[in-house]
């Protein structure tokens, strides 16, 4: 970095800016394997003014800004490069207001998702999105990635729970969109544009989340099957019976063993697949649904169906499922977790395809996923230091994504495109989709400063900019914070 730029950043932000090698190493990566990059510097913003100032400076001086929550993302969305400043939003972690009458809450982006759960549940309310990393990840990251979770089947994903945002646009302007009105169709859906934009269109500084009443009770069941195929049949049977469980998760044998190794729940290691089903709602309905699910699971050929004895046991089971990805890391140094997603009905076909592809490339690929959503997490266990294994894994995933698309699915259900799935995006959304995506990015971020290189590559902007001082005042970015 040019010393002059560093001096200017220091002058603007003082001790809030860190340039030490150690801090930069600390923020060089997120939860995605095989990606990393040392940033220029790291900023802990004190307020919206800092974010605005950083983005203006980025436009003037031509560096990138990479917003970061807890860095648990799985598509390298928070991985910086040597021309970017990492913007740490994790310190903004206050819950500003819980509006019980309007069933919503204003929160800062650094609030940890599980902390929001606790805060609203103590008031009989419920914030459903629950990504696997919910004890670590932040609401800001969830909004950026449109995160899903185990409860997606019944309750949907983050997009369904964001009523409004305050954000700083790449040019340094403030965007306020949405609000507490449940119905609001004034203008384009700008909130919808921000949700899932992977930090490339806006830095979210406040989020208005929608809450729902907390379900009265729930019941959790486990069903064991000799094969993934049999488990998939049970999934179809449950959904065809018009039951919508909160959670309908499956784990294959490989994953099951690793989870058992970590969590020691006493799961049978010889089962070919496991289904984890949770139903919630009012007590009589839950009791009835649980019984029907139990019968349907057994009828589909389960070797055993057990019900969690109490809430604590149900929690242990779900916690273990959340740790599935990291548990698989016990098998090998590098664990690549993907999230190819297909229409529910195509799930058995997809699972079989993943197994075939894994065998063809001589790889261990564990299958775990949100069966009810068709959201599969094929997880490949390799040693990232072995170039041959890495190459084989890349080839295997390429085939997996193509298969998912052929089956009418998509390349990512909830992790986002980031860096790791950029090269498959055109196949998923088509040339038209790419053209509009590019146009939106260009319109909002003309100098490509915000999380550059994520989601899509832009041809370099033909900067023919005069030095900032010579720009006439009327041409500069609007002054002052709205």
């Amino acid at each position: 970095m040019s010393p002059a730029l560093l001096d200017d950043l220091r002058a603007a932000f003082g001790a809030r800016l860190s340039h030490s090698l150690e801090e930069r190493i600390g923020y060089a990566r997120d939860g995605t394997p095989l990606y990393g990059g040392l940033p220029l510097a790291v900023l802990r913003p004190d307020g919206v003014e800092d974010v605005v100032r950083l983005l203006r400076l980025a436009n003037q001086r031509g560096f990138g800004v990479v917003p970061r929550g807890s860095g648990t993302g799985l598509s390298a969305g928070a991985v910086p490069d040597e021309r970017s400043v990492v913007l740490l939003m994790g310190g903004w972690n206050r819950i500003l207001e819980i509006d019980e009458e309007n069933l919503c809450a204003w929160v800062e982006p650094g609030v940890v998702t599980a902390d929001l759960h606790r805060a609203v549940e103590s008031r009989g309310l419920f914030y459903p999105p629950d990504p696997g990393s919910m004890h670590v990840c932040t609401i800001g990251g969830n909004v950026a990635e449109n995160s899903g979770g185990l409860r997606g089947l019944k309750y949907g994903v983050t997009r369904n729970y964001v009523l409004g945002v305050e954000a700083v646009l790449p040019t340094g302007e403030i965007l306020r969109a949405g609000g507490k009105a449940v119905k609001d169709v004034a203008g384009y859906d700008l909130v919808g544009l921000v949700v899932g934009s992977e930090g490339t269109l806006a830095v979210v500084t406040r989020v208005l989340v929608r809450l729902v009443p907390r379900p009265e009770t729930s019941a959790t069941l486990l069903a064991f099957y000799p094969s993934v195929d049999a488990a998939a049949r049970a999934v179809s049977a449950i959904l065809s019976a018009r039951i919508v469980p909160v959670t309908l998760e499956f784990l294959d044998r490989t994953t099951l063993r690793c989870v058992e190794d970590h969590a020691r729940l006493g799961l049978p290691a010889d089962a070919g697949a496991l289904l984890l089903v949770e139903v919630d709602g009012r007590a009589p309905v839950v009791a009835e649904d649980a019984e029907r699910v139990e019968a349907l699971c057994a009828a589909a050929g389960a070797t055993g169906v057990v019900r969690a004895r109490d809430e604590a046991e149900a929690l242990r089971l779900k916690t273990a499922r959340r740790a599935a990805f990291s548990s698989l890391a016990r098998l090998s140094p590098t664990t690549i977790l993907e999230d190819a997603t297909v229409p529910r009905s195509a799930l058995p076909e997809m699972v079989a395809a993943v197994e075939r592809i894994a065998a063809r490339h001589g790889l261990v690929i564990g299958n775990v996923g949100h069966a009810g959503d068709g959201n599969l997490h094929p997880t490949c266990c390799i040693d990232g230091r072995d170039a041959d294994q890495v190459a084989r894994a890349h080839r295997a995933f390429e085939e997996i994504f193509r298969t998912a698309l052929d089956l009418g699915g998509t390349i990512t259900g909830e992790h986002g495109v980031g860096l790791s799935k950029k090269r498959f995006l055109a196949d998923a959304i088509g040339e038209g989709g790419m053209r509009w995506t590019r146009a939106i990015k260009r319109a909002l971020d003309p100098n490509n400063v915000l999380n550059p290189g994520k989601v899509l590559d832009l041809e370099p902007v033909q900067h023919d900019r005069p030095p900032p001082d010579s720009v006439p005042a009327c041409e500069r970015a609007p002054a002052g914070v709205a």
Binding site: E22, D30, G36, G37, A329, T334, G384, L419
Partner: protein, 474 residues
């Protein structure tokens, strides 16, 4: 401007651009670095971040490099030659509490404790710290010297002048006043009475116990069911002198033949935590001599969690080629925490009541270091009249962490305050913990708050319940 660098998450290519180490000087890690920071252990971290919410120092600073994931990133950079043993690196490696909460949380099974102690050993090897050595070697290498130091400090530790002096000191240096306040009221070490095959019962328990008389002895059980040796804990002898006697009494009551080998001393855990591996090794050797013949022992019981956690892996202090490594491994395989062993073997529920509300603070090196959580609770639940209430964040470090409370006064106080706030919210009158480090720290905190809560080791509480029952049965 956006080609992201692709690299593996292995230390040999940690994804940092080649010029990345400028500023702190590239260094040649050398072959010994892999010995201290084994590449496979570093590569086991997949950076999922599940450790972050369990890390007390990350909670204090909010900085990635104060978290296990961030520290492993720093270690990987050091191992790859991209970062030298910089001030910040050394600080972060020692700012870590080594509490291992991250190991409990880690689904990938990363051996973080081994890594951080490896990093400290690397630092100690390249840039030895005289202060660390002085503290460890003068105080702990010889039990006699430690006894003499404790004896010299004992009058002051019980002096009424401490309060006023500390208040004056606080004006000069709050850190110094805090360290003074940590000094517990030192006790005279008490010889541990042990049972033997011949006597067939608890041969005695500390006569000084308030409500325990020498006559109140449980009936001799029919036969000894196991032979165990007890490690007393070199510091615990002075800071909580009754614990080992109480442990022996509880074990004897349960028909266990307890031996307290002569010549035992400091286990070496503090040396190992500080990265002074050679010192740790020497102390393990001394205890090996004291505890031989190991084959005669069914178990080596420890009532100080920090010592137990280290001794369970005592062989890791030895090089693979070291002839003593096999003996150390045998010793390690027999080490159990006294509560875990007794709960596992089965025990006679005491008949005597302890009417109180108790809560358990889990010593890091018991719950995270040894995976023992249920055992003390199960033992305590068998005491009639005792009501156990949960302590929020019971598995969080209290800020003691070996000598960490001496080296990081402000952070240590913050963690202690967090712990005591939770304690006060429970309404418990007994705080039960099984580690001398926690004991010293919590005692200082309770004293400073003028709290009436009694701090007690689970074995002591159990001993009192047995003694009360035999007194009534008599």
């Amino acid at each position: 401007m956006t080609t992201a660098r692709v690299a593996t998450n292995a230390p040999s290519a940690s994804g940092l651009p080649p010029g990345g180490a400028r500023g702190s000087g590239r260094w040649q890690p050398g072959t010994d670095v892999a010995r201290h920071l084994p590449p496979d252990l570093l590569a086991a971290c997949i950076r999922c971040g599940f450790c972050l919410p369990t890390c007390p120092t990350y909670a204090l600073t909010g900085r990635e490099i104060s978290s296990p994931r961030g520290r492993i990133a720093l270690m990987s950079a050091v191992a790859a030659g991209e970062l030298g043993l910089s001030d910040t690196f050394r600080y972060e490696m020692h700012f870590c509490l080594d509490c291992r909460a991250c190991e409990t949380a880690c689904p990938a099974g990363v051996r973080y404790g081994t890594l951080v102690e490896g990093a400290r050993a690397l630092i100690e090897e390249r840039m030895p710290s005289r202060r660390t050595r002085l503290l460890l070697d003068v105080a702990l290498r010889s039990q006699r010297r430690l006894d003499l130091i404790a004896a010299a400090l004992r009058p002051w530790s019980r002096s009424r002048l401490r309060g006023p002096v500390r208040r004056a000191l606080a004006r000069l240096s709050p850190g110094l006043a805090w360290r003074e306040a940590l000094l517990p009221e030192l006790e005279r070490p008490r010889p541990v009475s042990v049972t033997s095959r011949e006597s067939g019962g608890a041969a005695g328990f500390p006569a000084a116990r308030r409500h325990v008389s020498g006559r109140a002895r449980p009936a001799p059980p029919p036969r000894m069911r196991a032979v165990v040796a007890l490690l007393e804990g070199c510091v615990q002898r002075h800071t909580n002198a009754g614990v080992s006697g109480d442990t022996a009494f509880v074990l004897g009551t349960n028909a266990v033949d307890v031996r307290v080998p002569e010549g035992q001393g400091c286990c070496g855990s503090l040396h190992a935590h500080a990265g002074v591996t050679a010192g740790a090794r020497e102390l393990v050797r001394r205890n090996l001599d004291a505890f031989e013949p190991l084959e005669e022992l069914d178990a080596i019981l420890v009532n100080a969690a920090g010592c137990g956690s280290f001794l369970r892996h005592a062989d890791r202090a030895f090089e693979a080629a070291d002839p003593d490594r096999a003996r150390a491994a045998l010793l390690a395989s027999k080490v159990r925490d006294a509560t875990e062993w007794l709960a596992g073997e089965g025990w006679e529920p005491p008949a005597g009541a302890v009417d109180a509300v108790a809560t358990v603070h889990d010593a890091c090196h018991l719950v995270h270091g040894q995976g023992v959580f249920d055992a003390p609770r199960r033992l305590l639940a068998s005491i009639p009249g005792l009501r156990l209430v949960p302590l929020p964040e019971s598995t969080w470090c209290c800020g003691s962490a070996g000598t960490w409370n001496l080296t990081h006064p402000a952070s240590s106080r913050a963690l202690l305050a967090r712990k005591l706030d939770h304690l006060e919210a429970t309404g418990a009158t007994l705080l039960v913990t099984a580690n001398p480090g926690c004991h010293v720290q919590l005692a200082a905190g309770l004293r400073a708050r003028g709290s009436a809560v009694r701090l007690v080791h689970p074995m002591t509480l159990l001993a009192e319940a047995y003694a009360a029952s035999s007194a009534t049965i008599r």
